[in-house]
């Protein structure tokens, strides 16, 4: 069973009477609640809270943090402890809903609380969950994401003809350089011993890219991630050496996992392959040395991704674009090697994470549309490739440019020994245009990434 967490959003409105004034002020809490386990009402679930606390005229802290104790049945209590800043003072909001079987609605929605500063009471008030306007968004916000650590564990179960990949791409905000760490496990189709190999590559801002391979070495380890004698890709940590390259990085995940392919395809490997990100965004700190050069990273943005399947596609393209503000665009467009499927145009799997929500809601939507109608389209090529598509009232156009000077060409080998060629750039450019239908198509957002997009195109 996949260990899953819980994530939901809650907004509460109310009033506060601060100790230093007579009148009451309106208060608003916009919270994002994350728990490491699935929320079960009869259990007690501890959770972390981030969000925004607003006290009219006095406080507006978008970086409030705290914790929740959710126990509506066992302890009949949902307790909120949130720390926020008001006029330079750090205050602690401490309150709880006291659940009563006799007054289920009132007791589940009313949150009396007290404000403390250094343990001293400085105010009190009551917040209410606005049922009429808040219930549907609250219920719709519930997510049960799997834990990032779990997704890093090896999937390979000993079957021949499988390939499994852990790869990390990031951009150093100081130098503009891109880094690509690729860790691969290959179980050959002929049943010979599985081996681990990979490479590290650095893409200086103006090119050219440098890389070095490690392995192959026999796959022996069964740890929580990719592990060989010299190279490790484990939860929260990446280190290793390959030729002139040595690297040692810490990884801090942000956000839940993103399944580029349908979520079920990761749990049940019925598709030729599946691709996913254990965390939508990660920050990396540490060093990457190559030759005489060194990158010192401090909070570099990027992501780690996972692939598990039978091998590489016939043709494919991939994009990871950190759009800023927590928004992420992930695209895989591929033509399968399987007979029959290889005649289809590229199937596009596109996930746009915007304001914490994924668009389109189902990953299948972009690949197959409605029985093929309305599917997203990809025009693969180099140095430029494009993806366009429409779902619901929105349409997107993505143009990726991989200048040859900033692109690294590497040979891949499938489990059956057949070769493929990958052209990768961690300093690619991309333009993403999102439009919404308001009687006519109106631009909703445009992102232009210059040298910070991570992309590749592969073929045979």
């Amino acid at each position: 069973m996949t260990p899953r967490g819980t994530e939901f959003r809650e907004t509460m409105l109310g009033r506060v009477r601060l100790g230093d004034e007579e009148r009451e002020r309106p208060v608003r809490l916009d919270l994002v609640v994350r728990a490491d386990v699935v929320l079960l009402p009869h259990r007690t679930t501890p959770a972390r809270v981030t969000g925004r606390v607003r006290i009219a005229g006095r406080a507006d802290d978008a970086e409030a943090v705290g914790e929740l104790e959710i126990s509506p049945l066992a302890r009949r209590r949902i307790r909120y402890r949130i720390s926020f800043v008001m006029e330079g003072r750090r205050l602690e909001l401490d309150g709880w809903k006291s659940i009563s079987a006799g007054r289920p609605l009132a007791s589940m929605t009313v949150l009396p609380y007290t404000l403390h500063e250094d343990g001293e009471r400085v105010g009190e008030g009551t917040l209410r969950f606005p049922l009429a306007t808040g219930l549907l968004p609250f219920l719709a916000s519930f997510r049960f994401p799997g834990a990032a650590e779990w997704h890093l564990a090896p999937r390979w179960d000993g079957d021949p003809g499988r390939t499994e990949v852990w790869y990390t791409t990031l951009t150093d905000p100081v130098t503009g350089s891109g880094v690509w760490l690729h860790h691969e496990l290959v179980a050959p189709t002929d049943g010979s011993g599985a081996y681990a190999h990979g490479w590290a590559a650095v893409f200086p801002k103006d090119g050219p890219a440098e890389h070095a391979r490690f392995g192959p070495v026999p796959w022996t380890e069964h740890g929580p991630g990719f592990t060989t004698e010299d190279v490790h890709a484990l939860p929260g940590r990446l280190d290793g050496s390959a030729g002139p390259f040595t690297w040692s990085l810490t990884e801090t995940p942000h956000g839940g996992p993103v399944h580029t392919f349908p979520r079920w395809s990761w749990r049940r490997p019925w598709l030729p392959a599946s691709h996913m990100l254990p965390a939508a965004r990660c920050e990396y700190s540490g060093t990457v040395r190559y030759g005489d050069s060194e990158l010192r990273l401090d909070g570099a943005a990027g992501a780690s991704a996972r692939i598990y399947g039978h091998g590489n596609a016939r043709r494919w393209a991939w994009l990871h674009a950190d759009l800023g503000g927590g928004d992420v665009l992930e695209i895989v467009a591929a033509v399968s090697m399987r007979r029959g499927l290889d005649r289809l145009p590229p199937l596009v799997f596109l996930r746009l994470l915007r304001d914490g929500r994924a668009w389109p809601r189902r990953a299948e939507r972009t690949a197959v549309g409605w029985a093929g109608l309305g599917r997203f389209r990809a025009h693969l090529g180099l140095p430029e490739w494009r993806v366009t598509g429409r779902a619901g009232l929105r349409r997107i156009k993505v143009t990726v440019t991989q200048p040859p000077r900033r692109t690294l060409t590497l040979d891949y080998t499938d489990p059956d020994g057949s070769p493929a060629v990958c052209r990768n750039s961690e300093t690619a450019d991309a333009v993403v245009t999102l439009e919404r239908w308001w009687g006519s198509w109106r631009e909703e957002a445009t992102w232009r990434l210059s040298g910070t997009a991570h992309a590749e195109v592969g073929d045979r």
Partner: protein, 618 residues
């Protein structure tokens, strides 16, 4: 309320007091009776009004007219014929109690009571009414009740550095406020149910308990007996009450805190002196009591709040020290239930309390430690309301230390209300479980039910300054139980041994009074009210059984007793409630049995021991 209720009661009060319109004080009695009844719980109020209506109906049956329509002589006749029915005497006594209290107060007011003595400033307390307390708060320990046990536990925990909140249902009354009001007015404020807490049984018991910051220590007599050695030994050996180990040291500490000393003779009063004289005549062991009232000025108002601040009730002694150590007191706050977290590792654990404010709203305090010190009558109910009263012995094992009083009429004025209220202890029969204490009543508030009706009763009231009063308490078997969850509901079936002890105590008190020179002894028994010599008393009392007695009790204990036997004791030997972590019992209910003396020191020492054991584990 029906119209006939107050009207019948007004007429009855006039009839009982033989109100012939010649004195002013009798006219004000009905209104004061009404005020008194309003403070009583509904069942008691209804019973008294019902009795008044029944007597009114008796008058109609007898004369064709209601009591209020009768003339003075006819009224006297009706009352005399009513009093001639022996079976109706208990009914008559039930309505006489509030009328006598009101009559005493009004008469005292008209006679011009002494001006109030200047009251000293009380030591500061950190009191906050519940309406000013935040709806959500946290503490390291919540102490339910601010009486003897709660105050001591709170002080111990606060001194250990815990953030302590004391939750008290009653209000905070200052020493100065006591001097400004009549004893009866204070009585209805300071006691739960207006002092009319009744234990059902045969005979029924009146069991008044205090409700204020300071609990019953505000309204007790200040008598401070150390727990007798044989009781401590029994608690240790028979029940395994570990807190009783080193009890002497705890008692010493409590005595130091309360400044306990033997009552000097100067303000002892005639009531006490007569008891000493009687005991001396008989060769019985007797002495002024040890009390926590240094500088007592003999105002005889202990049981309605000491107006001079001499009596070191816990709100003047222990609670100020607790507040100085950081404890806070919430007043006007009834704990509705204890919160528990049932899913904690290791079993259910206390999480705090839900508190009801007077306006019906609720507040909650989260705390990992809850000390229940709500009193032996309230603690079991609170545990039941909280789902923690599942132990079959919770609420059982109730000892009350039943008491009765006997008055002696002397030829010279005694004026019992000038002197110490409870002044002298006669311990001659203490080894047999009988403790006699000379106990007077506050001005105008004689609790002794005077005999007779009409003119006879009026004469008795006007002669109360010639009465000396003794009280006796008997060490009883735990034959009572606390029922219910919300309202005080008690059942107490006097054990035959204890009934015999009461009768023996009554006889002994009569003997003592005669030895002191009493011309007449009033037994308090409706059908055998007075005896003029010892022989007559013996003959009278031969006709008396315990059912005929007016029994009261002031020392309920044992309803959540501690002990080693998990089958018999709801609390473990260290006073921790079984079945849940973090709930301590630290009031009279934790005592395994009757302490056989006034229990304030015993309760405080036990609370100190229980809290200290927790502190050492922190």
């Amino acid at each position: 309320m029906t119209r006939s209720g107050p009207t019948a009661l007004t007429a009855l009060a006039a009839a009982l007091l033989a109100d012939d319109g010649t004195t002013e004080w009798t006219r004000a009695v009905p209104r004061r009776v009404e005020t008194l009844l309003d403070a009583m719980p509904a069942p008691a109020r209804t019973a008294i009004r019902g009795a008044a209506t029944a007597i009114d109906a008796y008058a109609v049956a007898r004369t064709g007219r209601r009591l209020r329509a009768l003339g003075f002589a006819e009224r006297e006749h009706v009352m005399a014929s009513l009093a001639a029915h022996r079976a109706l005497l208990p009914l008559l006594d039930a309505v006489k109690v509030p009328v006598l209290l009101a009559a005493g107060t009004e008469r005292n007011l008209r006679q011009g009571s002494a001006p109030p003595l200047p009251a000293p400033d009380d030591p500061p307390l950190d009191c906050t009414p519940s309406c000013g307390w935040p709806t959500r708060s946290t503490a390291d320990a919540v102490v339910v009740g601010s009486g003897a046990g709660g105050a001591m536990a709170a002080r111990t925990l606060a001194r250990a550095g815990l953030r302590v909140v004391i939750v008290e249902e009653g209000e905070h009354h200052t020493t100065a406020s006591f001097g400004r009001r009549t004893p009866l007015d204070r009585f209805t404020d300071l006691y739960r149910d207006g002092g009319a807490t009744i234990a059902l049984g045969n005979p029924p018991l009146v069991l008044p308990v205090g409700r204020a910051v300071g609990g019953t220590t505000v309204v007790n007599s200040g008598t401070c007996y150390r727990t007798p050695d044989h009781v401590v030994t029994r608690w240790l050996d028979r029940y395994g009450f570990e807190v009783a180990e080193g009890f002497d040291a705890h008692l010493d500490e409590v005595e130091r805190t309360l400044r306990v000393a033997r009552q000097p003779l100067d303000v002892l009063g005639d009531n006490g002196r007569l008891a000493l004289a009687g005991a001396k005549e008989l060769g019985w062991t007797a002495a002024p009591l040890r009390r926590n009232a240094p500088g007592c000025r003999g105002s005889c108002q202990c049981v309605v709040g000491c107006p001079t601040g001499a009596k070191q009730s816990v709100q003047l002694s222990v609670l100020p020290e607790a507040c100085a150590a950081g404890a806070a007191i919430m007043t006007g706050a009834r704990v509705l239930r204890i919160l528990t977290d049932p899913d904690r590792p290791g079993g259910p654990r206390a999480a705090g309390v839900v508190v009801g404010r007077p306006d019906g709203t609720e507040l909650e305090i989260l705390s990992p430690l809850v000390v229940v010190a709500a009193g032996a009558l309230q603690t079991p109910q609170l545990l039941r309301r909280s789902g923690l009263g599942g132990h079959p012995r919770t609420g059982r094992n109730l000892s009350v230390h039943p008491a009765l009083s006997v008055a002696g009429r002397f030829s010279r004025p005694v004026t019992g209300w000038k002197g110490v209220l409870q002044s002298v202890g006669v311990e001659e029969l203490h080894s047999d479980g009988i403790l006699i204490e000379a106990t007077a009543a506050p001005p105008g508030m004689s609790s002794f039910v005077l005999p007779g009706v009409g003119r006879e009763l009026r004469r008795e009231i006007e002669g109360t300054d010639h009465l000396a009063t003794l009280g006796a308490m008997v060490a009883d078997r735990p034959s009572g139980r606390v029922l219910g969850r919300e309202r005080t509901l008690l059942r107490y079936d006097l054990a035959p041994r204890d009934a015999r002890r009461l009768l023996r105590a009554q006889r002994a008190m009569g003997r003592l009074l005669f030895a002191a020179g009493a011309a007449e002894v009033l037994t308090g028994v409706p059908h055998a009210p007075r005896a003029r010599d010892l022989g007559q008393l013996d003959a009278l009392l031969d006709t008396v059984t315990a059912r005929h007695l007016h029994v009261s009790a002031f020392h309920p204990t044992g309803t959540a007793a501690a002990g080693t036997d998990p089958e018999r004791s709801p609390a473990d030997p260290e006073g921790r409630l079984r079945g849940v972590h973090g709930v301590l019992i630290a009031d009279g209910s934790v005592l395994p049995g009757c302490p056989e003396v006034n229990p304030q020191l015993s309760i405080m020492a036990a609370a100190l021991g229980i809290a200290q054991r927790v502190v050492t584990r922190l």
